[in-house]
Symmetry: C2
Subunit: 397 residues, 2 copies
Amino acid sequence: MKIENPNPIQWHFAERAQKLQSSVIREILKITMRPEIISFAGGLPSPATFPVERMKAAFDTVLSNNGKVALQYGPTDGYLPLREWVANSLSIDGATISPEQVLMVSGSQQGLDLLGKVLIDEGSKVLVETPSYLGALQAFSVYGPEFVSIPTDDSGLLPEAVGSVGAGARLLYALPNFQNPTGRTLSLERRVALVDTCARLGLPLIEDDPYGSLSYNGAPLPKMLTMNPNGVIYMGSFSKVLTPGIRLGYVVAPQPLVRKLEQAKQATDLHTAQLTQMVVHEVIKDGFLAEHIPIIRALYADRCAAMLAALTEFFPAEVSWTKPEGGMFIWVTLPQHIDSMALLDEAIAQNVAFVPGAPFYANDPQHNTLRLSFVTVTPERIREGVAKLGKLIAAKL
Amino acid sequence: MKIENPNPIQWHFAERAQKLQSSVIREILKITMRPEIISFAGGLPSPATFPVERMKAAFDTVLSNNGKVALQYGPTDGYLPLREWVANSLSIDGATISPEQVLMVSGSQQGLDLLGKVLIDEGSKVLVETPSYLGALQAFSVYGPEFVSIPTDDSGLLPEAVGSVGAGARLLYALPNFQNPTGRTLSLERRVALVDTCARLGLPLIEDDPYGSLSYNGAPLPKMLTMNPNGVIYMGSFSKVLTPGIRLGYVVAPQPLVRKLEQAKQATDLHTAQLTQMVVHEVIKDGFLAEHIPIIRALYADRCAAMLAALTEFFPAEVSWTKPEGGMFIWVTLPQHIDSMALLDEAIAQNVAFVPGAPFYANDPQHNTLRLSFVTVTPERIREGVAKLGKLIAAKL
């Protein structure tokens, strides 16, 4: 029943599909899966923190008590008790968030895609940090925006720079806590100024907050959402505080936008797995995160300290790096003439890996930057890997 | 720390977002959740067929043996053993499908969204059946195609109609087995002619096949994929043969397209939950579907027979309907002057629900049509509901 000698298809992809390319990070990750590699490249949380037994028990409970509901199609906006949990957890510092403002999504990345789908036209102005989270740049790129890079320093992005270019933009995307890729935190003063600036401009402000609970001292800064719930779109995730493989996150947005996002989600994948949402709710409903998150914080703080110590010990004085107060990443700036992509090739030859910084820039990539992740590597191996990198860099000075 | 009196945001949605609207079906489903309603409206499989215990055991096995891998980020293309299973299951009738051609997705709906994202530009010609699956129309609509409706009869779409309008189109979307919404099957002769026509035109043919294994006599027609694996894009799903709430399906496509779809998926949601894929593989790897699917088939065949008998008994002679040989749906054509949307209001007042046919048309909606689903209703309630509908229709003649 085979068709004989059919014409080969000349694939005619959509214009937006030309903009798609595989993430540099995921390509590097393929190389660095080999066990002999000391990899600072991953954005993966440490599996040592995954509450596997707890999750297993929750799957058993949900499937035993409510299996036929958990395995059936579910509502597009998400499992109501979990939306209520999210709304409660964000109704702090004087803000009131309702469950109707919460849309459950298949990981934060889907939230970014839906926001792009609903807010970005070809040529729309979109403001991002310098550098910005690569996954957001990828998700938005598909919809053809004109990115405007907002300058930053060690206290995060500069709100006054938003004032001059923000008019008419579709959104500003910020990752205020322990940013990916830099590990920087937006200071309290700047949060207030940024929310105020965006409110004056009528500019939707996206607050992406996957690492917010991972502050090493346990005292996070106030969320921008709580300062203006009518102007801030908040994104949260269970990937970094529970496990990423279940693909579960949420977007909190003002009514007109969240209803539009819900319609977009319906056309995109109907809904996020009901079973997963019920299981996560079962795991966290009685306060599990309050005992679990400190374990993650302590582990990450320990490894961050190990890496900072190793950087001081082994990196030449011409190199600088950020000192994160939480999260998973350190950002390194090399002398101007060193290209981190070329350095990566040499590093991999010595079984060490990291992510070059250039892809994190929407405009004007700084090729002398790189991102180090420390959470999945033991302190001994951190020291060994940083020592090797330091030697390679020193040889280029 | 609240910002005082901020400007309310004037939401500026993307042009494509104007095209989004909530599915009529999902709106109706909200009404028809009340237990007193006899609902023929759902597209939901019968939860009586969900292998809950088997799934529970598989979650336990996977999390016990491989929990940290299952709960970590995974590859974008999917879990290799499951992709191998899919490739093997489709390497039939002389065709060879490789695991590299398989992309795991979060339900077929996501496959449709990714295909739209990668293949459809504003104004691209897209060919669909008359009527067509509503979810596909929704997913594609976002990308702004010009839909061309291909005429159909009781043996499915007419391949000769494709020949005259197919040149330059980006894709043809067909659901050949027990179509949603009509329950019709594309005949073997037409499959061959359609594959041949598309191959001559170099036109990508999407074969959406969620119900393919649910033929009541257990003898499905050959898949179009096997007739020309280089020109047909096949979509399968575990929603109708296992459970829909886990959101797991797959797209099988020629290399250049599947790699582009993989990039689009990465930007859209990174990957589909690894845990779910490992669990489904655990459930099906030893031949479970071969014993499970006949149970679903028998149940659905029984209920289809009950509905066909009730239609013959209670519906006026002026009404006609399809006689499905598998799947979940019967399509009803009323006399020209009866609007099924108005009929629905009267039916709901009498605690019976169905889905009006108009939204399933990309062009020129036929308002005198409706879709009946029979799989979640007992034969007694089917008889009761059809009797009520028959009376309402008779009163309009």
